[in-house]
Amino acid sequence: MNIRTEPITINLGPQHPSTHGVFRLRVTLDGEVIVDVEPIFGYLHRGTEKLAEERSYTQIVTLTDRMDYVSSMLNNQAYVIAVEKLAGLDVPDRGKFLRVIAGELQRIVSHLVATGFFLQDLGAFGTPLMYCFREREKILELFEMLCGARVTVSYMRPGGVFQDAPDDFWPSFRAILDSLPYFMDEIERLLEENEILLIRTKGIGILTPQSAIDNATSGPVLRASGIPWDLRKSNPYDVYGDLNFDIPIGTNGDSYDRFLVRILEIRESLRILEQCWTLIPSGPVRSKVPYFFRPPVGDCYASIESSKGELGFYLVSDGGISPYRCKVRSPSLINLTPLREMLLGWKIADLMVIFGSLDVNMGEVDR
């Protein structure tokens, strides 16, 4: 007997617990198999680039916090490096080290959140997420000591950071450096040999190296496909040129590798922080930069390795106190480019695994 079938189109989102923000997917299904996908976004569009055209260079730091709200420090860092390049500002060594410390702590936070929510999407409801959030909380307390805020930090300024770390920062920092490796052991024991996790992620959502480069993916997504590309190595900024660390890469480019690369990157971040702990010099943290300043007419592009990938700022100055144009090269947006080809042919149950493994942040996609 022939049963007539036809594809069905369903809407996933915009409000869906697994999309971590307002993201909508229009999915066409043939039975359980995905035959077409159309991502729809822009629900969180706040016009950051337009707002930046009317604010001074120092004020824009606060706008960058709100782009990728789980890695504000790294957004700050990308922006201030671009402004320093545009205006030709110097940064004292201690300022650079403090930026690297804050940035790497933020990378750990971002990867912990990514790991926790990824496992939550897989059905490990609550437990691993809460473990990750417990550790995240300790790092957010460090941020509170640095600048008084936990999420929207605005810690960095063109020319350095806005204040030196207080005295009670350092013992707490040391305590995290000592305790976090044990937590990582714990979470690896909990997860890496977990059969359910392996079955649901290994070989699922493969992104080939060729496709990863063609679609200009960056960050853990690119590295999980086996390409050792990290801007901290290939184009060092701040003090990364003086630090020793490795670039973890994956072999298959599947969801498991993207998950594993993030775990391994936390370890590398800890190595970097350990070196910063011994190497950080004393001295000023910020060069003398007035609140309003006028960079010379011109343009520049500068980028850093953010937790999601290459975060770049393209600034155009017309000689005024605010940029003529401020473009953000957002890694989350561009990492979504291969989403369609990654999802086609997989089952609906794999959709959230694949999407979650990309670790996009809607605040940064929509800006």
Partner: protein, 148 residues
């Protein structure tokens, strides 16, 4: 360190294929005629010497009397980079060829520029609004949006 390719070297190598099309070669920017964009980009990607296989970003800037498009290119193999700039005169219906067939990465970025800046990319298969909704009037990143 990522080495910025000298635009004059690139221009010299490209002049073997194109006599016009290259307008200026400043120190680190290659200025090209917008009509030759697709062919030049294809050459830059396939040429073994440059092999610019990674499209970092496309940016549109509104200079009132003209639009400027900036392409940041990179080669992951050689670790070098190049900036291409091109200009579109006039505000009514600026149009340029899409580079999506060369770098699929251009997909969402070209849609974003179309949505916010109003530059049409000929040959893009799915050029729809991306940040704002269908039916939105105007292009918000233009300097004269809502009276500037």
């Amino acid at each position: 360190m990522t080495i910025a390719l000298k635009a004059s070297d690139v221009a010299k190598a490209l002049r073997g294929f194109f006599t016009d099309g290259i307008l200026r070669d400043n120190l680190d920017e290659l200025w090209i005629d917008s009509n030759y964009l697709f062919d030049l980009c294809k050459l830059l990607k396939e040429n073994n010497e440059f092999y610019l296989n990674y499209l970092v970003a496309i940016t549109g800037v509104d200079y009132i009397d003209r639009f400027q498009l900036i392409y940041h290119l990179k080669s992951l193999q050689h670790n070098h980079s190049l900036v291409i700039k091109t200009e579109l005169i006039g505000r009514d219906s600026p149009s340029i060829s899409s580079v999506m067939n060369i770098w699929p990465a251009a997909d969402l970025q070209e849609r974003e520029i179309w949505d916010l800046m109003g530059i049409h990319f000929a040959g893009h298969p799915n050029l729809k609004r991306i940040m704002t909704w269908e039916g939105f009037e105007g292009h918000p990143l233009r300097r004269d949006h809502l009276g500037g």
